[in-house]
Structures are given as structure tokens and as C-alpha cells.
């Protein structure tokens, strides 16, 4: 050991999963998922620029059950990454580091991202009035 004052990194294999670590891993995972969502957005915009046939093909894929499942996952990833990102910005400003606040804001992130996802899809398909 070169220096015993350095903090040890928490080893995933021996650490009991906790809300803090689970939410942290999920933040990174949703970020990677959203990179694929960005590719899909670029493809979708390009198809619209290409012409009606290409746009129709893209819409056909997106409106299939599989396409909608993917879009639902992207919607949740976006809202989760956004809500937890706000939590991160709070930490950057040195707010919310104690365990009590970490747990409460973590729960808020989970509930808010799930609610916003469901609400968005209900609004999109007219079950809830549009803004």
C-alpha cells in the first residue's frame, strides 16, 4: 500500500446495495441509454429531412409495440437522469450531502421520474388534458 490515508473505493462485490449506490449506478446507466436515444433522434430528424417515405418507415418502427417500449424506456431514462442530475447539481453547490437528505432526495427522484414518465404518456395519448 503506497499511502494508507487515501480513501478506499467501495467495491461493488462486497458492498450491500444501498439507495445511494443503486441510484448512482442507475444515473450512469440511464446516461448511456440516453446516448442511444440521441442517435435515434438524429435518425428520426434525418428521416424527416429525407422525405415522406423515409419518415414513414421511421414512424412505422417507432409506432410498433417494440418501438413504443423503447421510447417508454427512453422517456423514463430522460426524466430519471434529469431529476437525479438536479440532485447532482445540488451536491455541486454543497447541498444535500448528509444521509437523511440523500435518502429523501433519492426517493423524490424515483417517484418524480416515474410519475413524469407515466404522465407524459397519458398526455401524449389524450388520457390527460394537454397543457
Amino acid at each position: 500500500m503506497p499511502d494508507d490515508t487515501r480513501p478506499l473505493s467501495p467495491h461493488l462485490q462486497v458492498y450491500r446495495p444501498q439507495i445511494t449506490s443503486i441510484l448512482s449506478v442507475t444515473h450512469r446507466a440511464t446516461g448511456v441509454v440516453l446516448a442511444f436515444a440521441a442517435l435515434l433522434l438524429a435518425y428520426w430528424l434525418a428521416s424527416a429531412a429525407y422525405g415522406p417515405e423515409a419518415f414513414g418507415r421511421a414512424q412505422g418502427v417507432l409506432e410498433s409495440w417494440f418501438g413504443r417500449l423503447i421510447l417508454f424506456g427512453f422517456t423514463f431514462s430522460l426524466f430519471y437522469h434529469m431529476c437525479n442530475g438536479i440532485r447532482h447539481l445540488g451536491w455541486d453547490m454543497l447541498w444535500g450531502f448528509d444521509m437523511a437528505k440523500l435518502r429523501i432526495t433519492g426517493m423524490i427522484v424515483v417517484i418524480a421520474s416515474l410519475s413524469l414518465t407515466v404522465l407524459s404518456w397519458l398526455m401524449a395519448y389524450g388520457h390527460v388534458g394537454k397543457l
Binding site: D3, T5, R6, R28, G31, V32, L34, A35, A38, L39, L41, A42, L45, A46, A48, A49, P52, F55, G56, T75, L78, M82, G85, I86, H88, L89, D92, S120, M123, A124, Y125, K130, L131
Partner: protein, 134 residues
């Protein structure tokens, strides 16, 4: 943060640190760019999701009419730029954390950087084409 034991022992001067000449020769630039793009993406993402909700069920012509509107074109391009920039910065950190072979790491970093620029350029050009050519 300045008074941790490591930094007391460091040979590097405090001036060297604040000038951004740390071990990566980059300072806080990456960290700051990630935060700035994140803050920009907050309103842009909400606008984009709201737009998609409103556009549900639209056909080709309706979508073109929407995307061709001045404000929508501008916001779409801002969203695309901020998003791909943020994606590149985030994927870079993930690659640097998990890929330990120098060759693979460098290859994947280049792939992600060029890829995000390529897709961002395509998306911007698509919006311009829809907006200007109708």
C-alpha cells in the same frame, strides 16, 4: 478540499493546480462543460418532451410545419448540440473508468467523439433542410 493530507504532501504548487495543470493537463474544464451542458439541457429537454407530446399522431406534413417554425428550428438545434456535447462528455468518463487498455480506450474515445460530432452535424443539417427547403 485543499487541506487533505495528499495535497499537503504534493509537490505541485497551488498555483499549478488552479491554472488547470493537474495530472490530466485539463483542470476543471471537462467537469464544468458537463455541468453547463446539463443546465442548458434542463429547459431544452422539457421543451422537447412537451413538443413530442403535442406532436403525437402528427403526419409528415404536420411534423415539417412544426419543425420548420423559426423558434422550433432554433430550439431543436440547440437541443441537439447540448445533448450530443453532454453525451460525449458523459460517455468519455464511462470509457475512462472502465476501459483499461490504452489502445481500446483511445480507440473508443475517438469513436465516441467523432460519432457524436457526425450525428450532431447530421441532425442539425436535417433541421436546416426541413426549415429552409420546406
Amino acid at each position: 478540499m485543499i487541506n487533505t493530507p495528499q495535497q499537503k504532501r504534493s509537490l505541485q504548487s497551488k498555483l499549478g493546480r488552479v491554472r488547470g495543470l493537474g495530472s490530466t493537463r485539463e483542470g476543471v474544464h471537462h467537469w464544468w462543460a458537463q455541468r453547463m451542458s446539463a443546465v442548458a439541457l434542463l429547459p431544452l429537454s422539457l421543451w422537447f418532451v412537451y413538443s413530442l407530446i403535442s406532436l403525437t399522431g402528427s403526419d409528415y406534413d404536420a411534423f415539417h410545419a412544426w419543425a420548420g417554425e423559426f423558434g422550433n428550428s432554433v430550439f431543436l438545434m440547440l437541443f441537439v448540440v447540448a445533448m450530443f456535447h453532454h453525451a460525449q462528455l458523459g460517455l468519455q468518463v464511462v470509457i475512462e473508468d472502465y476501459v483499461h487498455s490504452e489502445v481500446w480506450k483511445m480507440g473508443m474515445l475517438l469513436f465516441v467523439k467523432y460519432g457524436t460530432v457526425l450525428f450532431a452535424a447530421s441532425a442539425i443539417f436535417a433541421v436546416l433542410k426541413i426549415s429552409l427547403a420546406g
